[in-house]
């Protein structure tokens, strides 16, 4: 009788030590797993940021203000955009990526419309939808005009429902 509690103690101690070690191993294992996952994510993520398309800002000079006649649409292929100069002299940089599923819209000069070849959405000069399936106006890029030079930030397309006056930029 007198020995039994001690016996139990004896039996419990190594057991709980073993338990503790087991838990410690498990915790270390989980920690290591998390670290490797984190390192893996960091690896993939940092790589993605370096790709040009993901760059937060990319200023592209498209020409001088005087190069663009009022009421004109000029394609600018390197930036995959159109420079639209409104009748009142305002500038819009319109993305050629269709708002439906992302095809490249073309400017049809005779009918003065942007037409998407993929599913025939069409848009007017300022990018508003004329016929669906496109759900909203074409994206625009921020325009900055400095010392008569027109620059477009092609890293930051801006989504919009429709054209509003405040989107145009003036020299």
């Amino acid at each position: 009788m007198s020995t039994s509690p001690r016996k139990q103690n004896n039996r419990e101690k190594p057991l709980s030590r073993r338990n503790f070690l087991k838990k410690a191993w498990a915790a270390l294992g989980i920690l290591a797993g998390l670290e490797f996952t984190g390192a893996g994510m960091a690896f993939l993520w940092s790589n993605k940021k370096k790709t040009p398309a993901g760059e937060p800002s990319k200023l592209l000079s498209v020409g001088a203000v005087g190069d663009f006649a009022p009421d004109s649409v000029t394609p600018f292929r390197p930036g995959r955009l159109y420079i639209c100069r409104l009748e009142d002299g305002g500038f819009l940089a319109i993305s050629l990526k269709c708002s439906h599923l992302g095809c490249s819209v073309g400017w049809d000069a005779s009918s003065e419309k942007f037409v998407c070849p993929c599913h025939s959405s069409s848009f007017d000069k300022v990018g508003n939808v004329l016929s669906p399936p496109a759900p909203r106006a074409l994206d625009i890029f921020p325009v900055i005009i400095q010392n008569g030079e027109v620059m477009v930030n092609t890293g930051k397309p801006v989504k919009r429902q429709r054209f509003i006056k405040s989107q145009a930029v003036y020299a």
Partner: protein, 442 residues
Amino acid sequence: MAELLDKSKQDSPADSQEQKFGLKSLVLHLHPRRVPQAVLKFTHTWGLGGMAALLIVVQFLTGLLLRFVYAPFPGKAYDSIIVLQNEVLFGQFVRNIHHWSAIFLLAITFLHLLRVFFTGAFHGPRQFNWIIGCSLLFIVVAANFTGYLLPWDQLAYWAITVSTGMLEYLPLFGTELREAVLGGTEVGAATLLIFYNLHTSILPLLLFLLMLLHFWRVRKAHGVMVPQNSGNEANNYVAVIPNLVVRELATALVLLAVVLTVSAVFNAPLQAKANPDFSPNPAKAPWYFQGFQELLLHFHPVFAVLVIPFTAILVMLAIPYLRYDAEPTGIWFISGKGRKMGSISAAIALILTPLAILLDEYVISPSAALAIFPGYIIKGVIPLSFLLIFIAALYYLSKKKFAATKNEAVQAVFIFILTGFLILTATSVGFRGEGMRLAWPW
């Protein structure tokens, strides 16, 4: 192979060594020694699972060869395909085999799913194997999709642009998800590298592991489902070698012959090199996604891209766990009654789906109602409610009218939805011409 099938040799002790290390033991890792005679009947499984496995091996082997020539960079990819086709001995042929096997594999995997569903092989001990199967189907689709981009021609570039464009309609995280998949804001160098990596290492690895798991679960369930009406043949066990193995070899050889013939006659398509500035008219998603593209023409994007596909996936995964009220029979379409109900619901879908497409194309979409009520009501909540009410009615009527079991009623609903989806896909593939307007294919 001959000695493998030779029965007389099987018993000679001199061969026991060969049996341990030879082909026989390989076969017996996949198969049990004996199977019920009933499952040998070709029209029970149509050998579809085995065909899928064979085509995956074909893809692995031809893919490995292609990797020696292919360069996953926008400036080089297209040219490397040209070199492959024009300068590499058998280059065009190997590309053709990879191309056609990919299409066969997708079709056959889908048919295998239908076989498993219609013979009720997803019940009981096979429930989880259905889930593994669904994952396999997902990976086969993903492999087809990532492979589609690799030739970097106009077809590839715009199909991937349009398909990933659908992701942008997901609310909240759609744009972010698309950019994560593409590695940028549009299809480019990062996209090609990501797709190439997925296609030639990650997906094949996953496919291989899941396939092992899938086969192991088939063994764990003591082989395939045995049809209830097979009487004696259910209890009459026969040796796998040669009975099952010759049948498998014959099926494999016929399938290989078909794939090789098709590859010798029809070249895999290759259009002009990808040009991000000019889209072709019309630009369609790969054929296996065109059902969804068609859905997008008729439903508000949130419904076409999020609500409907995710419900469909959940329903697929739930199929084995619906608490059925009857034991599976292992017979095609459950019973005579099940077959009849299935034909009726297929016929209904065959009539109603085209009508619904025409109704939307010529009445609802052009109507002024869209300008007044928001799109997600006219082209979302209302048509979806109609569809759900119809499905519920189909379910309860078939249960009442035919005094059907739950198994049979679920099957009728499944056939209805399946037929509808196939018609949507066929409409987009065959009947959508320039500007995605309805047109005759000829």
